[in-house]
């Protein structure tokens, strides 16, 4: 009897031991350990940091039960001099919630993928310094565009409007020889220089409430793109006429009501309203007939 009991207990222990050592259990245990370690590291980092900043981040996930309703999540991040909004978001995602979703790519204000609505203004996450903002830092997706998840908006309409102005260099004549340069005068280059700086971030379009109310309005970015080519001396007169025809339509330049919102938020400092106004004047001159 005693031997039987001992055998049974040993078997039970072995079975329990086997159960504990399933790969799933090991993974879960490892995950718990990593989470605890991460928490300790975050605590230590927050204690060591000279000061911390609080982020209020817009969250929305229509595909997860219980997260369909938009809400704001708070994240406390350690602040270091030179830290940007994008750095803070990456910290929050890596240390607190891996499901936090936002776009970013080059991290140096060139790709335009991390345009966000921070403390009531459209800004590039990678260009905006945390130190310049008041606490708590409210981070939301770009307004006037549909939110897909968290800070990610659907940019399709913006891209459609950009493509509507045919944003491609299209000269009448090509220079002789395949490798010959397509020369432009320095004065003309200077004239269109600012317009060429557009990074397609969509901040201007998001800040324009005329664009928000009129889905067909080309928007500041697209008009700026048209300006860049219409004012380029290397494109022929016929092509310029074609571009003016696109921008002087009902939902083109004439929809702009000079609110200057686009110019104020442009992260590349493009004088968008100025360009739109100039195209308005070009359009008028183009249609003036004295007979």
């Amino acid at each position: 009897m005693s031997t039987l009991e001992t055998t049974t207990e040993t078997e039970t222990e072995e079975v329990e031991q086997e159960r504990e050592e399933t790969p799933g259990d090991r993974r879960r245990e490892l995950k718990r350990e990593r989470a605890a370690e991460r928490e300790r590291r975050v605590e230590a980092e927050l204690d060591d940091a000279e000061n911390t900043r609080r982020l209020k981040v817009f969250r929305y996930d229509p595909e997860v039960e219980g997260k369909e309703e938009p809400r704001f999540d708070d994240f406390v991040v350690p602040y270091h001099k030179g830290m940007t909004i994008l750095d803070a978001l990456i910290y929050a995602r890596d240390q607190y919630d891996s499901s936090l979703t936002f776009r970013h790519s080059c991290r140096q204000a060139v790709c335009g993928s991390d345009a966000l609505f921070v403390n009531g203004r459209q800004r590039l996450g990678c260009k905006t310094q945390l130190g310049d903002l008041d606490d708590p830092i409210r981070i939301e997706p770009l307004p006037h565009q549909e939110v897909v998840k968290d800070l990610v908006v659907d940019m399709q309409h913006f891209y459609d409007q950009m493509h509507a102005v045919e944003p491609y260099f299209d000269p009448d004549d090509l220079p002789e020889g395949e490798l010959a340069e397509q020369r432009q005068t320095p004065e003309n280059r200077e004239y269109v220089k600012m317009a060429t700086r557009c990074i397609w971030c969509g901040a201007c379009m998001s800040s324009c409430n005329i664009a928000a109310g009129d889905n067909e309005y080309l928007g500041p970015a697209a008009i700026n793109k048209a300006y860049r080519f219409a004012m380029d001396e290397r494109e022929g007169e016929d092509r310029k006429q074609e571009r003016l025809r696109i921008i002087e339509q009902e939902h083109g330049v004439w929809r702009c009501q000079t609110q200057f919102s686009c110019t104020e938020v442009c992260p590349k400092d493009i004088p968008l309203t100025e360009h739109i106004q100039e195209l308005k004047r070009e359009s008028v001159k183009n249609n003036l007939k004295f007979w």
Partner: protein
């Protein structure tokens, strides 16, 4: 494809604290424009019903025109005098901002568009304050 969340118009206008000078200029210009249109229609309505001879007065004093009677009646009301001050404010701002927009259209002063808006507001305020003795004189 996930379902998208549209934040809607109400939230957009709930962000009024974030509006900048150009945006306020646009809102005030629209608002004052509609007020002026409303005033013009009211003006036409009042004038068109004030043509002819006042039957009550003509019976007694004879030949007092209805226009004068109506206008005097209106001017005797303190609220009308205050409304006239408001009308002046609305008209002056609309005119000044209109001139500002004309310059913007011509590409002049684009970099001081916010300052010119504040200047329009200050000038409107100064003109309205200066007009108060004329409009409210003898009424209070």
């Amino acid at each position: 494809m996930s379902q998208s969340y549209d934040r809607g118009t109400v939230e957009d206008f709930g962000r009024w604290r974030e509006f900048s000078a150009g945006m306020w200029a646009w809102i005030f210009h629209k608002f004052t424009g509609w007020v002026l249109v409303g005033y013009l229609f009211t003006h036409i309505a009042v004038l068109s019903t004030s043509i002819g001879v006042d039957p009550a007065s003509s019976a007694v004093a004879g030949q007092t025109d209805l226009y004068t009677t109506t206008l005097r009646g209106l001017e005797d009301l303190l609220i009308v005098r205050f409304l006239e001050v408001g009308l002046l404010a609305v008209a002056v701002f609309h005119i000044l901002n209109g001139i500002r927009l004309l310059f913007v259209d011509l590409g002049l002063g684009l970099e001081v568009q916010d300052k010119s808006f504040y200047a329009s507001l200050v000038l409107t305020g100064a003109i309205v304050v200066a007009s108060i003795p004329t409009f409210l004189g003898g009424a209070i």
